[in-house]
């Protein structure tokens, strides 16, 4: 349903992209070069895939904090299988299977056993990090990488697009059909809005929550597969860099477009990647990147929160005893 608010939001998003793009372009002409735009899209592919998976979990109003740890374990599994001489599809399949397994465990624990999502996923994520040390005692794995062809995943092109970006677009298309053009998708949103009424309306809420967590795990491992392909080595801390950008992308997108969705997450990822890429071009050291992402995240949540905008409109701080 295309309505005027949506057009307005799209316009606001385009303006934001133009503003950020121009700001960086004026500081460094290299920002708009083909090479940089391609590396921006590569960066966006990795972050975007992880954020897409997380989107499903956020839509059903849950949290997944395990995906960075699960991604690390997926990376190490992938690296170990390649080093052991397995064919590439098996190795990638093995990595994704780790994501699926942990996603199913998370989903089962939250939906069936009724465990609290935040702490449970922190626990399973901790377990995954522990397991990821088993393969090589924590050293990074890069044997056989040249021979296996995994680097092609980063270097090849499909229909004029870099492989990682093509994968992101493909995943986004599948995700969009699943979430926005199928009955299942309506079920995800219904589960998030009111689980009880959704269940009584015949939505298999528990199964959908399990599916959401499973998707989050698989997508995190797919994202890390691309990262491993671009860096040429698997290491145990690979997943750590996924957490903040993924949450920031989902929440920034949801803030811009009113609710979490595939398109919103892609928009959020694009903005985050533009900013991180731009600041890297300006030679801002890597350890500031989390500060930038988190500041943007806090600002986005605060500005777009209805309570805060109401507060800004009234121009006066609320007194105690306000309704919750």
């Amino acid at each position: 349903m295309i309505s005027r608010p949506l057009a307005l939001r799209l316009l606001a998003f385009a303006a934001l992209v133009a503003l950020i793009g121009l700001a960086f372009w004026s500081q460094s002409a290299a920002f708009a070069s083909t090479g940089n735009l391609r590396s921006l899209m590569r960066h966006m592919s990795v972050q975007g895939l992880a954020a897409l998976g997380l989107t499903f979990v956020i839509v059903v109003r849950h949290f997944d904090l395990s995906f960075p740890g699960v991604a690390s374990m997926g990376a190490m599994t992938l690296g170990w299988l390649i080093a052991a001489g397995m064919p590439l599809p098996v190795a990638i399949g093995g990595g994704l299977a780790v994501g699926l397994a942990f996603g199913l465990v998370n989903g089962f624990a939250v939906a069936r056993l009724g465990l609290p999502d935040i702490v449970t996923t922190i626990g399973t994520g901790g377990l995954a990090i522990g397991f990821s040390y088993f393969y090589s005692n924590g050293t990074s794995i890069s044997q056989n990488f040249f021979m296996s062809g995994i680097l092609d995943l980063n270097d090849r092109k499909i229909a004029g697009l870099d492989m990682p970006f093509a994968i992101l677009m493909g995943a986004a298309l599948v995700g969009a059909i699943l979430l926005h053009a199928s009955r299942l998708g309506a079920g995800f949103y219904a589960t998030g809005q009111n689980t009880v009424s959704a269940r009584f309306s015949g939505v298999p809420t528990r199964r959908l929550i399990v599916v959401a967590f499973a998707l989050s795990g698989i997508m995190a491992c797919l994202a890390i597969t691309l990262l491993v392909a671009s860096s040429g080595a698997a290491n145990v801390t690979a997943g750590n860099q996924l957490l903040m950008p993924a949450f920031a992308a989902v929440y920034l997108g949801a803030a811009l477009f009113g609710r979490p969705s595939i398109g919103a997450t892609l928009a959020g990822t694009l903005l985050m990647s533009m900013m991180l890429n731009g600041f890297t071009l300006l030679a801002i050291p890597y350890y500031y990147s989390d500060a930038i992402v988190s500041t943007v995240l806090i600002t986005a949540i605060a500005i777009f929160d209805p309570r805060v905008s109401a507060l800004l409109r009234r121009g006066a701080p609320r007194r105690k005893g306000e309704p919750v």
Binding site: F63, L65, A109, L113, G114, L115, P116, I118, V119, T120, I122, G123, T124, G125, G126, L127, A128, I129, G130, F131, S132, Y133, F134, N137, G138, L243, M244, F247, A248, Y251, P285, Y286, Y287, Y288, S289, D290, A291, V293, S294, T295, L297, I298, I301, A302, D305, R307, V308, L311, P317, R318, K320, G321, E322, V324
Partner: protein
């Protein structure tokens, strides 16, 4: 629904002996594990090792105190360990640039209070979602901590008066353990004997009802977040002297331990409600377990798996105990 249990825990304990066993099962488990370690590795109970463990437990216990109350009130703070890392780096950075330890410690404490106020404003005043906000503020604190050391740790030559404080000891008992113990005793009194503590428990059970009852919930949440930032930064200041360095990435190891201590500790005495005695016991348990496991030659990854499993067991037990009580 279950409000009565908080007011009269002792009555219920007497009524149901199986529940009483569950209440104290955790203490028995801690005792059993420590005795096994002592038999397998006699070095576990040497004065030096006990002193070291008590020191670590004191610093950890200090860091997890604010978190205990926040989780007991049904909120969450995942920025505590990064705030500790930031305070740790602020102290190290100031000392390295020639400031005295007094000023540096104040600076570290100030950084923690600032982040406590930031969390409190965003979550308690603006009522934004606590998890995402504290993920973000935690990342901000960690990022600043790394920026202070330009991405690496800062080695310190002296440890100033904070180091002297940590060195004071009564036999195997570090003075800091006595101080933290006293702090925990005071917190126990506040949480279990004063109305403030009862409001904390009540907030977790039914926030709307507590608001209706006229409790200034937002002001309490504000206080709890500031408290969490403050005690985390105190722990960070102590760590600067204890490690005689500033470690920007020290947060990672405290993250799982903090949540595990609070949730596992919640099983002791209160059957699923985070409380300070439980947190302190669980902190000592975790420190002892990791120390004993190291003596037995376990690898880091095995210890990480034990941590993760314990957290999951803690969560599982909390939920199990609650559903059983409701039934």
């Amino acid at each position: 629904m279950t409000d009565l249990t908080t007011a009269t825990p002792r009555l219920r304990a007497g009524r149901n002996s199986r529940e009483a066993l569950m209440r104290f099962a955790f203490f028995l488990l801690v005792l059993a594990v420590f005795v096994i370690f002592a038999i397998l590795r006699p070095t576990f109970v040497t004065p030096g090792n006990i002193h070291g463990m008590l020191m670590s437990a004191s610093i950890g216990g200090l860091m997890f105190l604010g978190l205990t109350w926040l989780i007991a009130a049904g909120e969450i703070d995942v920025s505590f360990m990064s705030v500790a890392a930031l305070s740790n780096m602020v102290v190290a950075g100031l000392v390295l640039n020639g400031a005295g330890w007094g000023l540096a410690a104040l600076g570290g404490l100030g950084a923690g209070i600032v982040f406590g106020l930031l969390n409190a404003t965003l979550v308690a005043v603006l009522r934004l979602p606590a998890l995402v906000i504290t993920i973000a503020t935690g990342a901000l604190a960690a990022s600043i901590a790394a920026a202070i050391g330009l991405g690496t740790s800062i080695a310190l030559t002296g440890t100033g008066f904070v180091g002297q404080l940590l060195d004071l000891r009564i036999g195997v008992l570090p003075l800091i353990a006595v101080i933290v113990g006293a702090l925990y005793a005071a917190s126990w009194f506040v949480q279990e004997r004063l109305t403030f503590g009862h409001y904390i428990y009540a907030m977790e059970q039914n926030r709307a009802a507590v608001v209706e009852a006229g409790v200034p919930v937002n002001r309490m949440l504000f206080l709890l977040f500031v408290l969490s930032g403050t005690v985390s930064s105190l722990a960070g200041v102590l760590l600067a002297a204890n490690l005689s360095s500033g470690q920007p990435y020290l947060g990672a190891s405290y993250f799982l331990d903090g949540l595990t201590a609070v949730l596992l500790g919640g099983m002791a005495l209160k059957l699923g409600k985070p409380n300070v005695i439980g947190t302190l016991t669980a902190t000592i348990f975790l420190i002892g377990l990791l120390n004993g496991a190291a003596l037995l030659g376990w690898t880091d990854s095995e210890r990480q798996i034990v941590r993760g499993s314990l957290l999951l067991i803690g969560v599982g037990l909390v939920v199990f105990a609650r559903t059983r009580r409701k039934a």
